[in-house]
């Protein structure tokens, strides 16, 4: 997603300018973006990039806490492209705690590289549990470890005891880790 989404949309260009001058202007613009832009997620990412970097962590947190699901999704998917350290990791924890499969999936993009291994494994296992396709998990093959394999194997045993199966794409996690 580049800055070019601004060029075709006068509303967004104006909102970006206002946010640059006054960060608090992002509150209403962020909520309303879906009603002014065809690609609301791209427009919201552009608004986040218009924030001065020193106040970015504050506003990311505020917008996420008060966001509807699409606003939360827009933030989660924008995280890897923003000048952030680990400040937004609590938002991933929040998204992973929900049972909204869209939020869970969006939390496991490239920014999830900042999750510790314990939290990451549990999030991947939750994907298996809720049948979220594992293709949403960034860096899965490199990061999967023996402990994750053991957790998935235990879930398979429970499922099979109940006459059920894991989602098809979970079986690859049972392959031996070299």
């Amino acid at each position: 997603m580049g800055g070019d989404v601004v060029e075709d949309n006068a509303w967004l260009a104006d909102a970006v300018a206002r946010v640059g001058a006054d960060p608090a202007a992002i509150v209403r613009a962020f909520a309303a973006a879906g009603r002014h832009c065809d690609d609301a997620a791209a427009a919201r990412a552009r608004l986040l990039r218009a924030l001065p970097p020193d106040v970015l962590p504050y506003w990311i947190d505020d917008l996420y806490r008060h966001g509807d699901t699409n606003e939360k999704l827009a933030i989660l998917t924008a995280l890897p492209g923003l000048p952030l350290g680990a400040e937004a990791v609590p938002l991933l924890h929040d998204a992973i705690r929900t049972n909204d499969t869209r939020l869970l999936a969006a939390a496991l993009g490239p920014y999830a590289g900042r999750l510790d291994q314990h939290a990451w494994r549990h999030a991947v296992l939750k994907c298996v549990f809720l049948a979220v396709p594992l293709e949403v998990v960034s860096d899965l093959d490199r990061r999967a470890d023996r402990e994750l394999t053991a957790m998935v194997a235990a879930l398979r045993a429970e499922r099979e005891a109940a006459g059920r199966r894991l989602p098809d794409d979970a079986y690859r996690l049972l392959d031996p880790i070299p």
Partner: protein, 283 residues
């Protein structure tokens, strides 16, 4: 039969209800913010509740192919608790959300000065945010409450065509009809309003500006009473088109005034709608 239930508290209902509603033709619902039986004591409880109305509950509804919208407000009962008054400062932020199609439920419960102030302030928010308003009328001293409600609506300057005055009955319908506001009727199992009485009201007052809802919540109520009302209309000689108008086109027209009613992709409402494409609305 296709149905948009314009007033139902799905937060209090089970997945069995969603399943039965979807099977009976309910394709969309509007869930107004109201009280929860147990009074709340701080604004944080409301923030979590409002978040649920624009977060978790639409997700739950989508599992059954039902589109969920909300209305947001500080309700009249809890407007009387000074600890909840700061909720009025939270409301505007939620009024900006895409799936919020009106300010509501506002209005009167016991007709106190506190209720006056919350009602007036939130009608002004409706005007400012260009949203319709859903107005609850009291279950006690109703006729007086409706009259006073209509006075406040008139003084607020909001277009009466953007206001629905809800929970009406035989005694209160005429005044609202004459005011230009929409007329809301909540159909309950054995109180307030029934399908057969609703049919008589439709015969007498016509189908214009009428919304029929179940108002189902945590009390004794039935989310299929919209369907039962449609069946009673047909049995009484109304046409399929009349039923479609009352149960679908009227609520679509009323909430459509928000410019935010999203009924796209509802043509085919299989059980896994959205559930089968979990990234919808994502990246």
């Amino acid at each position: 039969m296709r149905i948009l239930d314009p007033h139902i508290h799905m937060t209090s209902r089970t997945t069995d209800d969603y399943q039965r509603m979807a099977a009976a033709g309910v394709r969309a619902v509007v869930e107004p913010a109201f009280w929860l039986g147990q009074p709340r004591t701080n604004p944080g409880s409301f923030a979590d509740y409002f978040d649920s109305l624009v977060g978790w509950e639409p997700f739950r509804a989508a599992q059954f192919g039902i589109r969920h919208h909300a209305t947001i407000a500080l309700n009249p009962k809890e407007a009387n608790d000074p600890r909840c008054r700061p909720v009025l400062d939270l409301v505007p932020r939620y009024l900006d959300k895409d799936a919020v199609v009106a300010v509501g439920e506002i209005g009167y419960d016991s007709m106190t000065p506190e209720e006056d102030e919350a009602f007036t302030r939130q009608l002004a928010m409706a005007v400012e945010h260009e949203l319709p308003a859903l107005v609850h009328t009291p279950h006690r001293d109703k006729a007086h409450g409706v009259k006073r409600t209509l006075d406040v609506v008139r003084e607020s300057g909001i277009d009466p065509g953007r206001v629905v005055v809800d929970h009406l009955n035989e005694v209160t319908v005429a005044a609202v009809h004459d005011s230009g506001c929409w007329m809301g009727f909540s159909i309950y199992p054995d109180t307030k309003m029934s399908p057969s009485r609703m049919v008589e009201i439709l015969r007498e007052h016509g189908l214009d500006r009428v919304l029929v809802n179940s108002a189902a919540d945590w009390g004794r109520s039935d989310p299929l009473l919209t369907v039962r009302t449609g069946e009673a209309m047909l049995a009484a000689g109304f046409t399929d088109d009349d039923v479609d108008r009352v149960l679908w086109r009227n609520p679509v027209e009323f909430y459509g005034q928000s410019g935010r009613l999203d009924l796209s992709d509802l043509g085919d409402t299989g059980p896994l709608f959205e559930g089968s494409s979990i990234l919808r609305g994502g990246s």
